[in-house]
Symmetry: C2
Subunit: 338 residues, 2 copies
DNA sequence: ACGCATGAGTTATACGTAAAACGTCGGACG
DNA sequence: CGTCCGACGTTTTACGTATAACTCATGCGT
């Protein structure tokens, strides 16, 4: 863990390649046609790669007086709408070599802070969700202080982790449904290769394995309402006794399940009980309101940040899972004929 | 529009205050107790304020080799969940003098880009939603190239604007409902002082004013499902003939209206037709699926970015409103007894 | 009268990069 | 034969800041 081994500079690369710093700058900046020979350029590129050289952005920005970065100010982060706005802007920006940074105007974040204070340069550390798996390899490239959100604590990474106690949430769901009398379960699982989702499946299976006479089937669906609808419809159209309880990996999947059940002429909760996980606004927008597990996102974010500050101070963050709560609403009831 | 008049540096402040650059740095950095007299410090502060001095972050970061900025990597921006994560993290970060920058892992934004490329330093320009009104004054402080999203084009600001053609969307909604035979309308208006929402009210009133025998009432609600529910319930419990069509300022308000109607024992669309605006996932999650106006958020973002690039190149962005489309689903039908 | 601490500043330097200005060396051209 | 030019680099400088090291009175105890 040589965390603070100072990063290589263009001068280090120059030394390694046996050229001047200026030559490195020319090669890295792709402005060397006619100024540096192909063989030398290749030597520089190899040295840069070997050393893991990455230009210091602060220095570059200072030198150029320009950042190719743009700020997008949005009312808040809660809307899917502005997520789309960001996506579109970022695509065009990328085409022009620009980056986009988000400034969600604060909502209870102390006094009105300078909107640019949060849009400053490079990074001291990283907080990463395990769901952003694609970005993680790149993050590993730099060895920045890292905190993982909802990642396997036993993972080989050694990074600090902060987790929601999803396993306990699933136990609470299972216990609630078992207490109502349910025995035949369908697990509507998100088709995403991420630790949080694996935990759901594992814990539900474990809990039901301890109950004689219980049955568990699983249907996989992409994380969208439409995907969940069709997966649920397919699963419930199959042969065999119909499950009486539908445990969904998150609220969005549950919304899709509602639509499938409606099409099949089944009522919630009279014919089938449904549970979600997240407790988004969506959970109370659908009818009947969804029994789900409330995840305290803000606490999650706070703990993640605190853990990162610990790492930055050389402390080892205290490992503790954030508790979650079952919220019982109108989508669960005793199974039919009970 | 002296846009490119180079920003003042600490040396300029020093000159104006008649001290050395180092003194300015000490005063601005709040590390002057016992190093600079109170009177001199005050003189420096006044000079800095008069010149509109703001420290160059690139230089500061380069000097300190540290940024007090942290990156939050999230799977995408679409979830309310991660919005909460951001809020929590940003609050703690602010308490510790840190900023938070978002890196939504790209979704179809070219090849897997360096996750840090989008998290670079200061700003060449700003794209701002008119809904983030609180942040705008601060933005005005720096005179960065600015593009406004959905703001009054006749605004006194003079900034470039890119707008969705919301007025036309409302016209389409009104025409659709009028064609179905509706004459008594209730406008469920968002209680937000922002141009986009003013347009909705104005345009609906204008369209209905041209139809003899039509009636329009208005109910105001905060932008939340619960707020919309109680506002709708209150409005429909009043005296007088009940409206047969409910025009909502956005989909979320429509979801709240659904709940109110359900409580009042009214069916959608048999008793009351409902329309939304946005076309979020929520619109198809509720039952019946919502007739609404689709806003193409990505195009919106793209146009905003393109306009900013125009401004940066010294060109005047072409003014054009982005068209929107009515999406007819199951929440609208002829009024009862028609 | 001398040393010494303290207040109030200033001077000088380094951070890492980009690029303008400057060599050098061989060959082509008049 | 002089010289001009292109290929291939190197030396140097500037970007704006933070801070360590230095200067220089002034007051004070002995």
């Amino acid at each position: 863990m040589a965390r603070d081994s100072t990063r290589p500079t263009s001068r280090d690369v120059a030394r390694a390649a046996g050229v001047s710093q200026a030559a490195v700058s020319l090669v890295m900046g792709d402005k060397w046609r006619g100024r540096v020979s192909e063989t030398t350029a290749e030597r520089v590129r190899r040295a840069a790669h070997d050393l893991g050289y990455r230009p210091n952005l602060a220095a570059r920005n200072l030198r150029l007086g320009r950042t190719r970065t743009v700020l997008l100010v949005v009312p808040a982060l809660t809307t899917e709408f502005f997520a789309g706005v960001y996506t579109g802007a970022a695509r065009v920006a990328a085409e022009h070599g620009f980056g986009v940074v988000l400034y969600p105007s604060p909502e209870g974040i102390g006094p009105a802070r300078d909107p640019f204070a949060s849009a400053q340069a490079a990074l001291d550390g990283v907080i990463a969700s395990s769901m952003a798996a694609d970005a993680l390899t790149a993050i590993r490239g730099d060895q920045l202080p890292l905190v993982m959100l909802d990642s396997d604590p036993a993972g080989s990474t050694g990074a600090a982790t902060v987790n929601l106690d999803i396993a306990d949430g699933i136990r609470q769901v299972a216990d609630h449904l078992l207490a109502l009398g349910h025995r035949r379960f369908l697990h509507l699982a998100a088709d995403v290769g991420s630790w949080t989702f694996e935990v759901r499946a594992r814990e539900l299976a474990a809990r039901l394995a301890a109950v004689p006479g219980s049955a568990l089937r699983t249907a996989h669906a992409p994380l969208s309402i439409e995907g969940a609808r069709s997966a649920t419809e397919a699963a419930l159209s199959g042969p065999g006794p119909r499950p009486t309880a539908l445990v969904c990996d998150d609220d969005k999947l549950a919304a899709g399940a509602y639509k499938a059940l409606r099409r099949l002429g089944l009522r919630v909760p009279e014919d089938v009980s449904v549970t979600g996980l997240d407790d988004l606004a969506l959970a109370t927008a659908i009818d009947p309101e969804l029994t789900t597990v409330r995840l305290d996102a803000e606490t999650f974010g706070e703990r993640g940040m605190r853990a990162l500050l610990d790492v930055l101070d050389g402390r080892v963050p205290s490992r503790d899972d954030i508790p979650v709560d079952l919220v019982v609403r109108g989508s669960t009831a005793p199974p039919p004929g009970d």
